[in-house]
């Protein structure tokens, strides 16, 4: 049976954490400032969409004919 190396590997991990070798895998996903400016634009878009022909017609089509599900 292979020698159990758990303790050694564990200590190696701690060393990597201490030295910063083990790096964080993260996804920054920056956006512009939403609260001051964009919020108003998105509110406008929502209102326009709410009253749009596109939304109305899509709802009508969906209500009239349940579409086929591809998934």
């Amino acid at each position: 049976m292979k020698k159990r190396m758990g303790n050694e590997y564990g200590r190696k991990l701690v060393t990597e954490l201490k030295t910063g070798v083990f790096q964080k895998d993260y996804r920054t996903n920056h956006g512009p400032d939403f609260a001051e400016g964009l919020e108003e634009l998105h509110r406008y878009r929502f209102r326009v969409y709410l009253g749009s022909c596109g939304r109305f017609l899509m709802d009508e089509r969906i209500a009239a004919d349940r579409s086929e599900y591809y998934g």
């Binding site: 964080k24 993260y26 996804r27 920054t28 996903n29 920056h30 956006g31 512009p32 400032d33 939403f34 609260a35 001051e36 964009l38 919020e39 998105h42 509110r43 878009r45 929502f46 209102r47 326009v48 969409y49 709410l50 009253g51 749009s52 022909c53 596109g54 939304r55 899509m58 089509r61 969906i62 349940r66 579409s67 086929e68 599900y69 591809y70 998934g71």
Partner: protein
């Protein structure tokens, strides 16, 4: 325990006010509230349902708690709109701030929060550019997406992360199609 840990472990959310501007919290609350009012007026259900401000409090608090965690871990200064929509949608679906007050014949309101969130996500996906007519041979695939989105929010396991992924996937598909069209032009 350092100061940050003490604040975080308190049994309240005061720490959010250290992390976010009061104006930002108020403004996000008002934004969501306004959208729900507009939706309820458009759907003509103002006499049949109300917006519970107490429940909306929980939506906004949980949203900011999540965004705060994300910002810390992902090293984000300002989150992308896809996250704002995804996390707000998730917590609205969980807490359901639109409450039905009609006792009978309210079947069509059973999933009113899901319908609102679906409308919100649709407005995000379909409003830039606005009012684009869908081509006849593409209507089916687009309608199926929207219909399945609502079904998904009603019956399936959703998370803020997979709502975000839905939004990103849609944007990527649109980007791919623009590129194909440009190449073929």
């Amino acid at each position: 325990m350092d100061e940050k840990e003490k604040v975080m472990s308190a049994d309240n959310y005061q720490y959010l006010l250290d992390k976010f501007d009061e104006k930002e919290i108020t403004s996000r609350y008002q934004w969501v509230y306004d959208l729900m009012c507009d939706f309820m007026e458009a759907e003509q259900i103002v006499d049949e349902a109300i917006i519970s401000s107490d429940i909306l409090n929980h939506v906004i608090v949980d949203y900011f708690v999540d965004i705060d965690r994300l910002k810390d871990f992902q090293n984000i200064e300002k989150v992308h709109d896809s996250k704002i929509y995804a996390y707000l949608s998730f917590w609205m679906l969980r807490h359901k701030p639109i409450q039905v007050i009609k006792e009978e014949s309210a079947g069509k309101l059973s999933f009113i929060n899901e319908k609102f969130v679906c409308c919100l996500l649709r407005s995000y996906l379909f409003s830039e550019p606005e009012n684009v007519p869908i081509m006849n041979n593409k209507k089916k695939v687009v309608d199926t997406f929207v219909e399945t989105l609502l079904y998904y929010l009603k019956y399936r396991d959703y998370s803020a992360k997979n709502i975000e992924m839905i939004l990103l996937a849609f944007a990527a598909g649109r980007g791919y199609q623009y590129s194909v069209d440009y190449q073929n032009a």
